[in-house]
Symmetry: C2
Subunit: 399 residues, 2 copies
DNA sequence: CTTATTAATTCAACTAACTTGAATGTTCAA
DNA sequence: TTGAACATTCAAGTTAGTTGAATTAATAAG
């Protein structure tokens, strides 16, 4: 399974310039809507005329709509524009070992529909047919408005390809070793597809809709099966050379510590993850299935769960410190398949190192905060990725 | 001191398109020279005509030169082009607490001149006047050929701004807290200036001239005063939101371990850095000044130095593992102010975790290798940054 | 109340840079 | 010797941007 299509450095021409400028305009509208042509021209460095032409085109495509005139001091009142939330939709599909989740999201990132389908196995044929079913139910009755479908974002657990930590087993999908997921899903869903890991998708979801709105450089610590890190730097999603960046779960935080499934000792994941919580509770004879089990235990003030949080705090603080020192983000977001209350408790318990480049005077954002997208964050993130792609300017093209 | 100018998302027009395409062409020539128009057109996605026009312009600017016709099978023999090494130069200036280094590099990254000037203090006025002196001696006699001077890359030790680890003290410059180094140096040197930290500069140096030629995603572990990490991802230099990404020296690898100057325990820097080596040797009554002292000790097989290498190996292996898991680079390069022999020994001693996304079948590059640019790598890197900037296409513009 | 000023938007002409398709060389293979 | 293959150039043609003048509508000043 290969994810990361290398980008080729390609030249630009009039057509690609227009595509880029459309994205630039959309991006600025998204950030500052409602907004008029003149202001877009000022911040984008384009002429008002160019902006005007592009807006006309985007209005034609139903991606933008007028938002009324508004007088601001002297001069002709500004004719403002905003995103047309219902002008386009994106499909998000998350593949987990045991189930798939679907989400339909509009241009504003609002969730229109979500669903869950159990998975009997992870074979590509099974996954693909469930994906088709999700597509059908998501679009059912919603296509009449002739909404544009921008594409689908498919979220699969990493790592991708055959790598040293496949022994972790619990996260990797079986039967996908030889396939090209992008091609498979594009064929099955009949629309453009991007594939990402869960942590990255979650990060993008927060950028499109959650607490990372307006941030260009931030990290998302994602509680999935293990623990993943999604990184957005200067607005660009970081994938690494082989699509496996952000595998923070197997970073060693306690040398010689607990034995991890990957064979090493002291991996972060053996302390701060659902796996860790599960094994802690299993030791006390408590089986947890879904995340709501954890929520109930937390509400009941279960001592073993509290003890786990206690134990996770140190390694997690250390992880946040290392993220800050390596990526220098505006903020670190915690989220994923863990109840909000537990995340909040974890954040409150963190003992962040003072010696970090993030311990800075005059911060405007908290060093660590909880994600706003909740538990479906990865499926939403898949869709958000598509939205993000249509709005964020790029110049390097896929091969 | 603020380094990282936020990038604004700007639109493109014919002029900016041309600028971009010039960089695209230069970049492809650099990677595959000698190369003909038709091939550039194929890989860049531009028409041959467009490439032809751009090449004519670049030849006019003396950045490219013909490299003769070469027949390859049927058809008109290709008229090949290559970079004109002497067509342009870039100045690199490294500022260390006690001295400054200068380097002049041509378009091919070849070193034309290097110098060293002692520094009495770090006040901006002192640094600036030494910088002027370096500029003068570097360009003396070399400007007659009407070579274009592309600009200067100034390398300063991070972290930038007032952050939690300023207690580390040893690396930060005094007197620069309030100034804007880019503006200061542009004024003093009368040319475009970029400012970076040493690790990043070293990484770019390896990309322009050393072992990272042709790589798009890699990391550089830099032995300076402390330990820094330079990251290049998808060809883009990673700076972080505040210009302080890559502060790996203060990542905690041995919780509760040695006390670091930053106040935390177990920082990587207390094991694997010149500071660590120095304190180890000082404990044995050996004072080291320059890096060549270390080299001599190593040649002599000094037991204390060997012991330090032994002790550094574990933390360093752990650091490489975490870099691989977080950034998923094509390779990790070791270099900086440490003798080649010691670096080689360190690399040979590494015990890399098997559980890493980098433990992959069919790797073409070694997981860890020594940098090729030697000890002046940072000053060269400053110049390389400028070369890199003229060759790497960008679309986001500085504010 | 009238007039001047300010600012957003549109109109019309202009321009830069890319694309396309035909023409021109050169070399290799039949 | 001839034709296929390929690089390069030539000459339009096209796209999408810029520029400067004209239009419109609001506020501020007289």
């Amino acid at each position: 399974m290969k994810i990361n299509n290398p980008r080729r450095i390609v030249g630009s021409n009039a057509e690609r310039t227009r595509l880029h400028n459309r994205q630039v305009v959309l991006g600025h509208v998204r950030e500052r809507q409602p907004i008029g042509r003149a202001e877009i021209a000022r911040i984008s460095g384009l002429s008002t005329q160019a902006v005007s032409n592009i807006i006309a085109e985007l209005e034609e495509d139903r991606l933008l709509i007028e938002a009324g005139r508004q007088s601001e001091g002297r001069g002709l009142p500004v004719l403002k524009y905003r995103l047309n939330a219902d002008g386009a939709v994106a499909l998000g599909i998350e593949v987990r070992p045991d189930a798939m989740f679907g989400a339909l999201v509009n241009l504003e990132g609002e969730t229109l529909f979500t669903t869950r389908e159990a998975l009997s196995d992870n074979a590509p044929s099974t996954v693909v047919s469930v994906a088709r079913r999700i597509r059908a139910s998501a679009l059912e009755g919603r296509c009449g408005k002739a909404q544009r479908i921008l594409g689908a974002g498919v979220v699969m657990p990493g790592p991708f390809g055959k790598v040293g930590i496949s022994g972790a087993g619990q996260s990797a999908l079986h039967g996908w070793e030889e396939s090209d997921p992008v091609a498979v899903f594009e064929e099955a869903l009949d629309m453009p597809v991007v594939v990402e890991n869960d942590a990255t998708a979650a990060a993008v979801a927060e950028r499109v809709r959650g607490v990372a709105t307006g941030l260009r450089t931030f990290c998302f610590l994602y509680f999935g099966a293990g623990l993943g890190l999604g990184v957005v730097a200067e607005g660009e999603v970081q994938r690494g050379a082989f699509g496996n960046a952000g595998e923070i779960g197997h970073v060693i935080v306690r040398p010689g510590g607990r034995l991890c499934a990957c064979g090493n000792h002291g991996c972060l994941e053996t302390y701060a993850s659902r796996i860790a919580a599960r094994s802690k509770l299993a030791g006390a004879g408590i089986e947890i299935g879904s995340a709501s089990d954890i929520e109930n235990l937390y509400k009941a003030g279960n001592a073993h769960l509290m003890e786990w949080i206690e134990e996770a705090s140190g390694p997690l603080s250390q992880a946040v410190g290392l993220i800050e020192n390596l990526f220098d983000p505006e903020t670190v977001i915690l989220g994923g398949a863990m109840p909000d209350a537990v995340l909040d408790h974890l954040i409150a318990t963190l003992d962040l190192p003072g010696g970090s480049v993030a311990a800075r005077a005059g911060r405007s954002t908290p060093r660590v905060q909880r994600g706003a997208c909740g538990r479906l964050t990865a499926a939403l993130g898949g869709a958000a990725l598509v939205i993000h792609d249509t709005i964020t300017p790029r110049i390097a093209a896929k091969t």
